[in-house]
């Protein structure tokens, strides 16, 4: 988990593997810098491979920005759990969190790059999704 205080769109990385999530976050920090709120989560609640809603909610909180948060996910359950987490957010935050349909590592770097320039949430999501589409 790491974050930064800025008005830019936050980025959350969700992988079944905590190592992948952390590694992708490291890449974002190195390539994009610290102008973007960033958090990662991975693993099930017992520490095995998987994803969990509580961890995703916590990551969204860590990376929260008034401009919103873009969530990058890997496979299946990561997406379902992320969507569930978004629905469990307070109503005023729900509309400002989006799950991107993009590869988790590349998408995170591209989304963070877009965010670091001050782009709004919709543009951040579009960049991540279009790059490999």
């Amino acid at each position: 988990m790491n974050s930064s205080n800025s008005g830019n769109v936050g980025i959350v990385i969700v992988s079944h593997s905590p190592k992948i999530a952390e590694g992708a976050a490291d890449m974002v920090r190195q390539m994009v810098g610290s102008a973007v709120p960033l958090a990662w989560t991975g693993g099930d609640i017992d520490g095995g491979l998987g994803t969990n809603v509580a961890g995703i909610l916590e990551a969204i909180e860590t990376a929260w920005s008034p401009a919103g948060v873009a969530v990058l996910v890997d496979l299946g359950g990561a997406e379902t759990n992320s969507e569930m987490a978004v629905e469990m957010l307070p109503e005023d935050r729900r509309a400002r969190v989006v799950v991107c349909n993009a590869p988790v590592v590349e998408g995170a770097v591209i989304a963070a790059t877009e965010s670091s320039g001050g782009s709004p949430l919709a543009a951040v999501k579009r960049s991540a999704e279009e790059f490999y589409a």
Binding site: I45, L49, G50, A54, G76, G77, E83, M84, M88
Partner: protein
């Protein structure tokens, strides 16, 4: 369908036991076409539900179902946590405090719609919906406990020859054919356990 506290606790224990006792079977089904964690995940979720007893059974039936759903969402993980958890949560939201069978018919229909939306799926794609949907039809048609449980078991069996279109098994394409869907199996176990406690009589 007014369940007193004793019946509510009995229902929770029956639901949990049905999954916990078959955890190994669910895992081996999931090892064939998924990532092999379904039994463990569901067991962890329902053990967490059991840990909220006896307080859980003090709640009204709708509140109890919502609480079970929330625990499953938070503890099961995988894609099953949100799917099964959503079913329980929406069922609780849709049921009135004092419910009759018609309320359950309407509430299960709503809960199934919520599962479809959550998984962006429909029946016929080798998921738990292939059990939930036909079982709801039998419930709506007035079937008794035995008919509902039988449909649940048969519906799970019918997923064996299906091609997976949603979920992890869809990565396997045609290799998913010939294996029962683990999520359908756990749904049928839960339904079988529930109707045994609720002792549905046939209605016209």
């Amino acid at each position: 369908m007014s369940l007193d506290r004793v019946a509510r606790e009995k229902l929770v224990r029956a639901l949990a036991d049905s999954v916990i006792q078959h955890a190994d079977e669910l895992t081996s089904l999931d090892q064939a076409i998924g990532d092999g964690d379904h039994g463990l995940n569901m067991k962890r979720g329902f053990e967490a539900v059991l840990a909220t007893l006896p307080g859980l059974a003090d709640k009204s039936l709708p509140e109890m179902l919502k609480a079970i759903g929330m625990t499953l969402v938070m503890k099961v993980g995988g894609a099953s946590g949100p799917l099964v958890g959503t079913f329980f949560m929406e069922l609780g939201k849709a049921l009135p405090e004092q419910s009759i069978r018609a309320d359950l018919v309407a509430a299960t229909a709503k809960a199934i719609d919520a599962v479809k939306a959550r998984g962006r799926s429909e029946a016929g794609q080798k998921t738990l919906l292939d059990v939930l949907v036909p079982v709801q039809v039998v419930l709506a048609g007035g079937g008794d406990a035995k008919a509902i449980a039988a449909e649940a078991a048969q519906a799970a069996d019918r997923t064996t020859p299906m091609l997976a279109i949603r979920g992890r098994a869809s990565f396997l394409g045609e290799r998913s054919i010939g294996h029962m869907d683990p999520g359908s199996r756990s749904a049928s176990l839960l339904i079988g356990a529930a109707v045994k406690v609720l002792e549905f009589e046939a209605s016209s």
